[in-house]
Amino acid sequence: MTLPSRERGLDLLRQMTRIRRFEERAAELYTVGKIRGFLHLYIGEEAVAVGAMQALTPDDNVVATYREHGQALARGIPPGAVMAEMYGKANGCSRGHGGSMHLFDVSRRFHGGHAIVGGGLPVAVGLALADALQKRAAVTACFFGDGAVAEGAFAESLNLAALWRLPVLFVCENNLYAMGTALARHQAQTDIVRKAEAAGVPGQAVDGMDVLAVEAAARLATAAVRAGQGPRLLEARTYRFRAHSMYDPDLYRAKEEIERWKASDPIGHFVAALRAEGLLVDADLAALEHAVAAEVDAAVAEAEAGPWEPVEDLLKDVYTAAERR
């Protein structure tokens, strides 16, 4: 890999580390009951969100899945707003209505947080259609997992985006498991790029454990999308180090397989590469970890201090209030 400047390198490392430490804390908070519902950790996959997000501008749209803490943080949603959302507090980024799986921040064009596998793809196509019809030069980045390729929405959405040459960047985070079912156990064709190409969407596979490789591929793909060449697909080959959710006993993966993937930890590898080039010294790493720990502490404090939405407001925002019309 070609390394970026020290400043850029440290920024990418900080972003990945922030996601990792944030989620480690979230897992702890889950075990003590501060966070409930489903909690899907992204640990191991941080290079995908951080790398891909580098290719986006503030005018672009992001549509993500229920495993989206990484995308949310990389997109710039404040950690406190995400943590408060997981607490179910009114200062959460979805006012406590969504929880871990449904993070939203319209000011950052972050359109969820979709927990129906494949359900975000048609919405992404529509956001891109709206941009195209209004002559806005934005890209819609749509994240989804390998499980989603089994859904009709995958085939339908890729086709429609290609047919109408819409500005969508489809990012398949292939972590090899649809919950507990391995890709090869649910797909006859396991090459996701070939599936995309069959739908008329040019695709590229990339090492999803390498933040710079993901960034480079995402920049290339978004450049094509921005140039009006229609949608592109990026298949980021990655792995989640933790179980599917906090309920998952992880019986379907061999320990050796998990350990093998952990050896290519995106953060550890990137640290080693930066060190080897002399771009990072121990003091930098310590300072970075210290700063991230403080951010996570602050996020937790914000969540702890946040108010609960009054029950009287339960039915608010089922429909848009008259004054918002």
Binding site: V123, V125, G126, A128, Q134, Y319
Partner: protein, 327 residues
């Protein structure tokens, strides 16, 4: 007022919307070159071009979801789903996205999406093109559900739907498309959530909507010839439901028959009946009755289809029975 068909009235609303608001566009299966499966959008492609009148692949879930996304992105999409039976293929986007996104995002998002679809039986299209599932949709908070039963409402309620900031589902009854009626062809939007008394009466209230409205009015005429004056309420909107108009009528007539083309079990008629029981029990002189479709997948043969549906004769018979006039 101009005489025009329900179909032409719906088209006039589409045309006005497309002319009046550059954010409006129409998409769906065969809405463009074909002119719409029920010819509602005939001529619109020529007038507005392929950017705004968009033929889609047979991908209901994705083009409805794309409607959701386009609405989030600042457009005012009108999505046509060919029939209500096909809409089962896009229930995910409707129930899990269109209806939820506003609340689930903590009020950040609005989804100003209009979905139109043909509903109902009466054209011998059998069990995969003829059902009345609008009652299911009325179950879902976060969306609004309207069902025009007159040509004028085919226009007015569609225009109203386009003014809403939230998803509105417009159920156009397939058997009504050729029906002529007086239409205010330059009129503005109707009011969603307001039922109308289509015929005043004193002896009982017939509550209905959509494709059963003309049949119920015919039954009321028949009953009038026998000295029974039935009041006929056209719900027009299933969600929100105008219970005030229903309750006011029952306070006058003391009897209610709900006529609904949906199946009886778990029907929208059951909802109306329950609301009356909860809120007007002491106004009633007898139990609320329901006349619904027979609990059978809609058969093809004309005589069987006729027998499965509420008809003027069966509506009149049910009314007579409630008044002890079943001779």
């Amino acid at each position: 007022m101009t005489k025009m068909t329900y179909r032409d009235a719906a088209r006039s609303a589409l045309r006005d919307a497309l002319r009046g608001d550059p954010r409006v566009f129409l998409m769906g299966e065969d809405v463009g070159r074909y002119g719409g499966a029920f010819a509602v959008s005939h001529g619109l492609l020529a007038e507005f071009g392929p950017e705004r009148v968009r033929d889609t692949p047979l991908s209901e879930n994705t083009f409805v979801g794309a409607g959701v996304g386009a609405a989030l992105g600042g457009m005012r999409p009108i999505v046509e789903v060919m029939t209500v039976n096909f809409s089962l293929l896009c229930l995910d986007q409707i129930v899990n996205n269109a209806a939820t996104l506003r609340h689930m995002s903590g009020g950040q998002l609005s989804v100003p999406l209009v979905v139109r679809m043909a509903t109902g039986a009466g054209r011998q299209l059998a069990a995969q093109h003829s059902h009345s599932l609008e009652g299911w949709y009325a179950h879902i908070p976060g969306i609004k559900v309207v069902a025009p039963g007159t040509a004028d409402d085919a226009r007015a309620l569609l225009l109203a739907a386009l003014r809403e900031p939230d998803p509105v589902f417009v159920f156009e009854h397939a058997a009504l498309y050729p029906m002529e009626g007086e239409v205010d062809a330059t009129g503005g939007p109707g009011e969603i959530g307001r039922a109308l008394v289509r015929r005043a009466g004193t002896d009982l209230t017939l509550i209905t909507y959509g494709g059963s409205l003309p049949k119920t009015l015919a039954a009321a005429e028949r009953l009038a010839g026998e000295g029974i004056e039935a009041e006929v309420i056209d719900l027009r909107s299933l969600r929100p439901l105008d219970t005030a108009t229903i309750l006011a009528s029952i306070a006058r007539t003391h009897r209610a028959l709900v006529v609904d083309e949906g199946w009886r079990t778990g029907s929208f008629a059951a909802e109306v009946s329950a609301q009356i029981m909860e809120r007007a029990f002491y106004d009633l002189d007898g139990p609320v009755q329901r006349l619904c479709s027979a609990e059978v997948p809609m058969p093809y043969a004309r005589h069987l289809e006729d027998a499965a549906l509420p008809q003027p004769a069966t509506i009149a018979a049910a009314a007579r029975a409630m008044l002890g006039r079943d001779g």
